[in-house]
Amino acid sequence: MSRSCNGRAACPQATAELDVTSTAAWNKQPYLFVVAALVFVSSSWAQRALTDIPNPDPAYQQSLLKPAEGFEVSLFASDPMIAKPIAMSFDAKGRLWVATSETYPQIMPGQTPSDKVYRLEDTDGDGKADKRTVFADGLLTPTAILVMPEGVYVGNSTELLFFEDKDDDGVADNKRVVLSGFGTEDTHHIVHTLRAGPAGRIYFNQSIYIHSYLETPHGIRELKAGGVWRLRPETMELDVYSRGLVNTWGFQFDNWGQTFQSDGAGSEGISHSFPGAAFRTTHGYDRILPGLNPGQPKMSGLEIISGRHFPEEWQGRIITCDFRGNRINAFKPVDSNSGFIAPQQEDLVTSTHGSFRPIDLQMGPDGALYVADWYNPIIQHGEVDFRDERRDHTHGRIWRITAKDRALVKKPTIKDASVSELLKHLIAPEAWTRTQAKLFLKDRGADAVVRPLKNWVRSLDASDSQIDAYRLEALWVSLSLMKPDIGLIDQLLSSNDFHARAAAVRALEEHPERIDGIYDFMERALADEHPRVQLEALHVLRALGGVRAASLASQVYSESMDEAFEFGLWTTMKILAPDWQSAAVKNPRLFGSDTRALLFAIRSVNQPEALEPLDVLWKSGEIEEAVMPDALELLGELGDAAIVTDVFQETLSRAERSLPGVLKVLKALEQSATKRKVVPEATASDIEILLKKGDLESRIAIARLSGAWKVKGVVGTLETLVKDLNTDTKLSLAAVEGLVSLDSSESKSALLRLGGSNQPFSTRLRAAAGYAQSSPKAAIPMVVAALSDAGPKDDARPLIRPYLSNGRMADALAKGLSGITIDGDVATVGLRLFGSVTTNTKLLQAAMQKAGGIEPLNQALDTEQMADFIGYTHANGDAARGEAIYRRDSLLCITCHALGGSGGSLGPDLTSIGASAPMDYIVDSLLQPQKKIKEGYHVVSLTKKDGSVLAGTLVKEDSESFVLRDMADQRILVAKSDVASQTISPVSLMPPGLTAPLRKDELADLVTFLSSIGKEGDYKVSSKPVVRTFRYLDDQDGSRAFADIVRHKPIEHMVTDDPRFVWLAAYARIDGLLPVAEIPSLRRAGEQQYRYFQFDLDVKSAGKIGLRFNDADGFRLWSGQEEVEGVENETRVVLGEGKQTFTLAALRGDRSNRDLSIEIFEIPGSSAQVQVVNGK
């Protein structure tokens, strides 16, 4: 078969093969195609496909490394000098120390650990290492290294080790354990990213699966997930600096001491961190900080460019490695309120070499950037076998990135420098030099340094534009010597530059209790005009503790806090709660006259015991009317039975007076009923009043609640609602839910009546689903009847769902289905529910397959079949066709997975899947989703006390409840008091058989597309700020009322937030183009057909920005509700802060089928900071 034969039409052999493996064959006899394929694909080609590994010649690899314009990449060191480098650190003499592991991922039985730390030297200064010393041997998976003046720290599996080399011969002569008790539950999660902080502490990270219990002279320290530790070696004080993320394989300080982290398995790119920060995956936190680049997955290492060798525009850029995508990314951090935004920039290096795995970055003493290339075609061991033969154990490279035609920095003398020379290094433009100088000043000790440091500070020119930076360096030295220079803190706090003021406040966080006049500093910081300075003060207040600290912190509460700031205040109030709670009971105005500050504080605790001060204020009538809805909501959420009864009565009265907040409070009461089993006393007539007076959503809520509260005498009311065909669909469903929750003999009789054959089918369907929940056994005949009558347009899943949580009931329904016929589509949709079920429902599954006439599938491939299929895919797969298949609604790919942050979030983001996962892994994952499950996407299975089982991914867990997200993307709230046991289940939320309807050639196309994603070429998600997630309007199930609005209301009405509009998600292709032809058009009076789209921008800072259309012709554009005049390919708009929605309308004839792309561009001089809101 010709290798160049890609297109189906031009390839007769492939076409012939297709005939054999037509839909039917592929569906019903999955092995048939294998036999057919053997005819065409030689097995040797197929075998090669499975072990297809790139040529390891360094020169060849180098030829495939493409640096950004103006840069070059050279080889600093390579195998056999080193193999499998994981982490690097430069010493003060400019020698590069590398921690390596050939043992990873798992030691062999009987093997003696022999991983090594190497010291590499470039003795002749030609930019290549020419001397290697084995510094330490006998290590087990060392994943972290930091060279300090006093010795070398190495993260080694369960331990953090410290080595000395007193004679400096490059061979360790002394070893001791600094800390032990780090978990090793996953060898790519163990201690990593050792970094020297600016003020004398060392920092290191662990990843999500690690549970560490560390004994220190100050007590035990625990971290049972990902996070960053910080240690002061001379006192052994150890604490957790920040929490969360999945694989936070990057951490670095900027010039002002702000820290940034990257994540190797999350999807939010760079994160800005600070003391007490908590990100995604932090256990037990109601609030977390968002990352700065949603949709940017897979990063390892993090370095910030500084120094004279790199061009000006690269200064301060954050560099991190997209090791999956074989490239090195760049981001530009920009101050934004208390935090940052970090728009992505052009890549520093890209490559098509599949083994190029950049994982650690260090700025060198010469000003060049050094890259540890782990070099491996396989990157993972959770999903690819520990002993997979493609796994590389022998190669590894260190690359050096330099700017063309720019001088390197002369290596500074540091180790043997005098104190005064070291002090001079504090003003070096290179962060590396300044860091080394600080480390050695600390090493020289307070006696030798404190006085010269003071003199040096005094000698600085106060009019120098960099004076703040110099003073800050000096302050850090004083902190590292544990002799904080209060005068410098005072000076910096008076600076005009908020960066300096924020850094001065951060310095106080080290040991606030030891600083005289700390509260004066706090008052100044909290009154600061810049939110970052205030945020830094909150970190200090947490460290200080006490009522005074809490009441000071609450002063910065405002309604317009940015996200990072709000998190900072929230965590402060939460951590200080034991200090302020009893004081607030005595003085409910502890946090001032604005009740919202108190609400915020109580929310940070989110426990009933914090509620009392608010209850006191309410009962004494002291709550402002504007705050009442929020106050009642909180009282409803946390109050006991007496309080929630009062809250309900107040709500009733507010509904009668048409005051706002009714729905909000009802929702809070609903949550209390589910989570805490706390319900108000309510009567049927109360319910009647709300059903009359409330708006639609309130009526929906009260219909449900009346059941949950077991209100006497409401059955008739609810039954009438369901029966009335004019009742809104959602209200009718809620009334059924109400009847289900009532769980009385009357309510069951009502459901039985409603499900009777004399009722319209829609009513029967709803009632049967409800009855199935109430009395699953008795409901079987009704459910079977409804199933057999349901057509392809009906959603029959609610009929089946109640039987999936209980194996016995499932078997009973299976029996009931015998001899029954169900519509094939109904059965197919229903069968997808089984994918994530953890109970034994095999009989029911088989019964549904039989009733629906669906042949059972076994899609697993053995090694030979896999090899053959991969050979076939290499020869015939087409990525463009594959993308079209990926986008089919029926496959649910887009619904669950995101590309570049755009798409569903039920499954992992696939932005670089192709660059990281071997093709056989992708095929396996499609055919047997449960075989490999990505970190963070495991299904939690909850067995309730009633014996039923619920399964889904864990969205949130607090002391009272779990929130699961199920297969249908529904959030389910489960009270912990209802749960008997909890397990992590080996099933995938991705249902098996999704790809079953595909022909063999289609599956090959899909696999080709997936394995192209993220590789250099057409299927790499661009780093430009492109709108990827749109919304559109369709005909809303042919709704007459909606069609009337579209036809007759003026077109301007389409941009209003009319609650009757249901906007649906549409996603751009990987190339950033939205296929406009896929969007339905809606008819207006006068026969014109329009398409309507929306997208959102998040405006961090107001101002003017540009929208770049590929082709704006034929569009009308609204920003909010205001039409933008004169839409052109480059259109400029002025935007206010916050989320801004844009609506586009295009006349079908004018725009026909030309695809659409929109990119955001900055306008020079504009203050605007804007991010595209992609996502679901």
């Binding site: 009987g110 354990v177 032990s180 090793t184 699966y209 219990y213 220190t216 002279p217 035990i220 499950i933």
Partner: protein, 416 residues
């Protein structure tokens, strides 16, 4: 006997050892009903505890000392210590709520299948001070009841004392006060359950500048190599006190006057050189901790004036005048010292293999919630057994003292 122990150490090799040894005796005496404690042929010993227990496998002193104590008995040791663990097995919970750690702790004990269990917890619990003591003792009782399945013998080992590391490291005083409370409570607990108790808190001697003693910890709380060697001595002496004195003396007639801790025969050749055929009762554990206090002391009273050297396989291992030999010379090195080090190395290798077996990396995939993905790799775990066995066979051989020969020769031209 105890008195003799102190008095018999009449040499000035290390003053601190004298102090320490007397303290050992005191420690062993306090609250002790264990004078009859022994490890029996066929015993399986598990060490269960926190960082103190886990880090012991880096050094091997404790296990080496217990192994050498009963050279003719077959005893298997398994270290199932876990850094940062508490009596509730907290550090062993993996992804489950901390309570599940206790279930895992039970599994770990099951895996070691011991007849004797050394328990060592409390160093971190003591940070809670008096207010945490009741909880601690209650949980410890639960642990004892769980581990003590009737046919198991238990030993409780107290926490170690905290050492002053000097500014800016924290002052150990307050925590030592807490540790004292906890040690006292543990002693009572042990006595209530009739369990032998080893008091390391009161018997280990932290570094003292005044007394010129060496540091026993790395960081004030965790023992270093020397500290573990000291702890090994204290444990063996507290449980199964025995004389570590090894002394051979010849009287004026050249007859064996005393042969303590070894079997000996002496011969004399035509040149007057003395030949010794010796076999130790137990391996002497010197130079554990850098001293050689357990090595042979040889006293020969019948030598004509002159300078003599003691040789082993042609290597001079001690020299001295007739007068010195008459007083007795303790050997800085003796042949079995190497064997003891080989024994310790084999024990360390065995423990390392066992560590990778019972506490493998990548638990998540091997036996945890992702075992459906990579659980096939659990097949590796039984493959560690032959490597553990192989080291245990070496240990069985190395722990038995071998016969050796020494010759004492007059150095020509020697005067004295």
């Amino acid at each position: 006997m105890r008195l003799k122990c102190c008095l018999s150490l009449r040499h000035s090799f290390a003053r601190f050892f004298l102090v320490a040894s007397c303290l050992v005796s005191l420690g062993a005496q306090v609250g002790r009903s264990q004078s009859s404690f022994e490890l029996k042929d066929g015993d399986r010993v598990a060490f269960l505890g926190d960082t103190f227990v886990e880090r012991a496998i880096r050094y091997g002193h404790i296990e080496t000392a217990l192994t050498a104590r009963w050279p003719d008995r077959e005893i298997v040791f398994r270290n199932i210590g876990w850094s940062g663990d508490n009596v509730g097995g907290r550090a062993r919970a993996f992804f489950d709520p901390v309570d599940a750690g206790f279930e895992n702790l039970k599994n770990h004990v099951q895996l070691a299948d011991p007849s004797v269990v050394f328990l060592s917890y409390g160093a971190m619990a003591a940070f809670a001070g008096e207010s945490g003591l009741d909880d601690f003792i209650q949980s410890y009782s639960k642990l004892i009841e769980t581990v003590d399945t009737g046919n198991r013998r238990l030993v409780i080992v107290s926490p170690t004392p905290r050492e002053a590391m000097g500014h800016p490291m924290p002052d150990p005083k307050a925590q030592n006060q807490n540790l004292k409370f906890y040690t006292d409570a543990l002693r009572s607990l042990a006595s209530r359950h009739d369990i032998p108790f080893v008091d390391l808190f009161n018997t280990l001697v932290p570094r003292s500048v005044a007394r010129g003693t060496r540091a026993i910890t790395d960081n004030g709380i965790h023992l270093n190599d020397y500290g573990y060697a000291q702890a090994a001595e204290r444990i063996v002496q507290a449980l199964a006190e025995h004389s570590t004195v090894k002394r051979l003396s010849l009287d004026k007639e050249g007859r064996i006057e005393e042969a303590k801790g070894l079997r000996a025969s002496v011969s004399k050749n035509s040149k007057g050189d003395l030949g010794f055929e010796l076999k130790d009762e137990r391996l002497s554990l010197s130079p554990l901790g850098g001293d050689h206090s357990q090595n042979l002391e040889l006293a020969v009273a019948n030598l004509p004036r002159g300078e003599y050297r003691l040789e082993y396989e042609g290597k001079v291992i001690a020299t001295g005048s007739a007068q010195k030999w008459k007083r007795g010379i303790q050997l800085a090195w003796e042949p079995s010292n190497d064997q003891a080090e080989q024994l310790r190395a084999a024990i360390n290798r065995k423990n390392e293999h066992f560590f990778h077996q019972w506490r493998p990396q990548n638990e998540t995939y091997i036996r945890g919630f992702r075992k459906h993905e990579q659980g096939q790799n659990a097949a590796d775990l039984p493959k560690f057994d032959p490597f553990i066995k192989a080291e245990e066979m070496k240990i069985a051989k190395l722990k038995k003292p071998e016969a050796y020969k020494l010759t004492l020769t007059r150095v020509k031209g020697g005067e004295g």
